[in-house]
Symmetry: C2
Subunit: 250 residues, 2 copies
């Protein structure tokens, strides 16, 4: 049975585990576990090693397929490539403090963080993805190809795309109390690939503004470790005002 060739017993886990078994690299991976894309310098500070040292570590992580890079100007942003990597890291983390295991709560945490979390300063997880989908479906944002433009700082896939705010979108958000003009020197819209969903969610100034507004409206509350809870008001408000059906994320 050829199709069944790759099973647990076969695999050579040593190289992968060794990659995760070095303190600096482990620190990097745990910093990236929630799907953020972080710059090399940020990660160096997180790991507590020199930039040159971390550069070598990152090269090995990329070479091993655990982490992927996206260059943007003079920065290079690193993120975990696939959800399976995060799964393995979490399985190890569950094992690490040999005693204090609270598997039930951890199970709920793992699920909760995939459902709705913050990514930097905006929403991610199934809720983040559903939100972007709804904004596009509701003609608040329009997708544009952006072949000539420089790649989006916090990643864009192969081709670069842009999400532009429509006039109707601006009006709709205004009704919600979202002040779209407050865009300092930061791009209004960006997108960010979600590791748990493998699809983009909304980042950029608008992503941030929306999250803030949701918090102000009492629609969501920020829990521990980037988990985001959606209130009953949020559940109905998101569906009514933005077309984000609860079935798409809850």
């Amino acid at each position: 049975m050829v199709g069944d060739a790759v099973v647990a017993g076969d695999a050579d886990i040593a190289p992968i585990a060794a990659l995760m078994g070095e303190p600096a690299r482990a620190a990097v991976l745990m910093a990236l576990i929630d799907g953020r894309a972080l710059a090399a310098s940020t990660l160096a500070a997180e790991a507590g090693v020199a930039a040159s040292t971390l550069s070598a570590h990152l090269a090995r992580l990329v070479d091993g397929g655990l982490v992927s890079v996206e260059a943007s100007g003079r920065n290079r942003y690193f993120r975990i490539t696939r959800p399976e990597v995060a799964d393995a890291l979490e399985a190890l983390a569950r094992l690490a403090p040999c005693r204090p295991i609270r598997s039930l709560r951890q199970g709920t945490h793992a699920e909760a963080i995939r459902r709705a979390r913050t990514c930097y300063d905006h929403l991610a997880g199934r809720l983040g993805v559903a939100l972007l989908d709804a904004l596009v479906a509701g003609n608040v944002l329009r997708v544009e190809e952006d072949p000539g433009g420089r790649p989006d700082p916090v990643l864009g896939a192969g081709r670069s795309q842009r999400y532009v705010l429509t006039k109707t979108g601006k009006a709709r958000l205004g009704e919600l109390g979202v002040d779209v003009e407050t865009t300092a020197r930061r791009p209004l819209t960006r997108y960010c690939l979600d590791w748990s969903e493998q699809r983009p969610h909304l980042a950029g100034a608008l992503g941030n503004t929306l999250l803030s507004r949701f918090v102000d409206l009492g629609w969501v509350t920020r829990g521990e470790r980037r988990v985001v809870q959606v209130t009953d008001a949020g559940r109905t408000g998101l569906a009514r005002d933005l077309g984000v059906a609860a079935g798409d994320w809850a």
Copy 2:
């Protein structure tokens, strides 16, 4: 919220991952992943290193809490301590061959091996545990405390227990075509802690004889990688003749 203190982001996975990241140790762990307890010499052959080298590796695995030891005469049997360890190993294994992922089939394999597998030469997994339960419930085996007796070679938990074949049990098994007298110089009954179930299943000569008979009867077939498939005949036969309800393991 104190109860939620231990979550993925905190843990220091580096020492654990480093333990798994050495080829010889990884080979040991993968050899033990199905819950067997293997002797040091067996593991040395498996890992392809000298006995002295492996001894040091095993000491570190035990020290790290991944593996536990049970001495028996001049042998020392090693096994994986907790199901979480096997989970982490499987998560890594799923990651190891970076390309050829067949997550669906792997998911089914992981499930299948927990449902019914071989352990040495007897049944393990949910089926193995259900079988032992049924044998005890049906008065085929009787549990006895065995405080004075030497610990069972292939582990026994803290205290040692014995499973003794009853007269009615001997008759019942005889009807099934199981020749109980064929016990050479091997203990008739032993038990073996199942990592996926954390409960004992039947090992020893009787465990082996039963598996052989099940195969002869066409009740079970041995698949790849220690997975055991139960046929329709086996499903009904196990329930009818031994009281092993399908709901307890399927």
